[in-house]
Symmetry: C2
Subunit: 229 residues, 2 copies
């Protein structure tokens, strides 16, 4: 059985940083499934598995190839039902989509403005050129201008995390007493920021910070297998 | 079997408006459970059922008294497991708590600033005096000052709803193909605004508006049993 997770990394291939790949790393650990990591740079992605994907994560699971973190989580849940559940049933699957929507529109959108240059700086030369070109088209301005415009927003991030903070007053994880894929969805972008950027994103003493630290400790501390920037 | 839902209303007791009571109205309809509504004013609440609660909803279900909309939903799910599920399993229950946290911190907090005076205006004289006194202590300013400060925020509400809008690009309800209690959680505060305030909160053509209209149509259109302000 060959199980390969294609993961995005910078010039140092031992430091995968993609938020979406990290969701899958935690999901695979949650299921207790062994795998090999194949770290690639941005410009390597089109050549993976004969052009199977434009984005990572891509998981090869035996003869199956699955793209997209949520699709991979659904695949793992369906294929390995006897291992710990990632969703806790159908109701958990459909509401994990809301957690994903919240994470993408609120958290990811805020974080990318802080870490965009840090990502650029950790890439190899060819990937740097690709990244600057593609992201400057997407944002309609230079990477430097995006980060400058976002500078004042680190203070507003704490307020945006209030829904999670209130949740954590009721239960220790999105998943209740134990973590579920919804936790890994939100862990992903915070782990991305931790790995690529020396900026302080989460404040000490914040329940969200405590939850993130708990997530870093999960499954043998797999989240700590890459050190903070 | 006596099933009574204590519901908050203004001077016109036929127009219950509490967001949390509306969550329960939809939950009872979802389960297909008949009940009587006992509409009360704010200052009547301490006398209900011999002082059983400081807040509504309060549900009497036979010899059980249950306070709090989420606790009532859990009670209904546990007590009537053969009727349509409100949560879709344990994973749905725990993530409905996140939907509640999001709705309370983002949606409810924004809406209350628009509708605070409208609520006041629909109350009877004794409830008006109680409402003004208690809310002015809570907000630290006059009702008029709260609404004035919130006036510019109707425009920013649309942005705050983006996580739901993105979700609705993937599935028609929080509950997936069919609604679940998570839909009713978010329906509640929007229904509250619809009943007490003539202000336009949701824009025509917004997928969130379309979802809200679908929710109004659910279970025989029970949400339309009270007309818009």
């Amino acid at each position: 059985m060959t199980r390969i997770l294609y993961a995005l990394a910078g010039a140092d291939r031992s430091r995968p940083f993609s938020p979406h790949v990290w969701k899958v790393v935690l999901a695979l650990a949650h299921k207790g499934l062994p795998y090999e990591t194949a770290a690639v740079g941005f410009t390597d992605i089109p050549a993976i598995e004969g052009g199977a994907t434009k984005t990572v994560p891509l998981l090869r699971d035996g003869d199956r190839l699955i793209v997209d973190s949520f699709a991979i989580a659904l695949h793992l849940e369906e294929t390995y039902p006897d291992r710990p559940s990632l969703f806790g049933g159908e109701g958990g699957k459909v509401l994990s989509r809301f957690v994903e929507s919240w994470s993408q529109t609120v958290l990811h959108t805020a974080l990318v403005r802080f870490v965009l240059l840090d990502i650029h700086d950790c890439l190899g030369p060819e990937d740097q050129a690709y990244f600057r070109r593609s992201r400057e088209v997407r944002f309609g301005k230079s990477l430097e201008a995006v980060v400058e415009a976002g500078a004042g927003e680190i203070e507003t991030l704490a307020a945006k995390l209030e829904p999670l903070r209130v949740l954590l007053g009721k239960q220790p994880y999105f998943g209740g007493e134990t973590p579920s894929f919804a936790d890994y969805i939100v862990f992903g972008p915070l782990q991305w920021a931790r790995i690529v950027s020396p900026k302080t994103i989460l404040a000490a003493g914040d329940p969200v910070t405590d939850w993130f630290e708990r997530c870093l400790n999960l499954h043998g501390g797999v989240g700590r297998s890459v050190t903070a920037a």
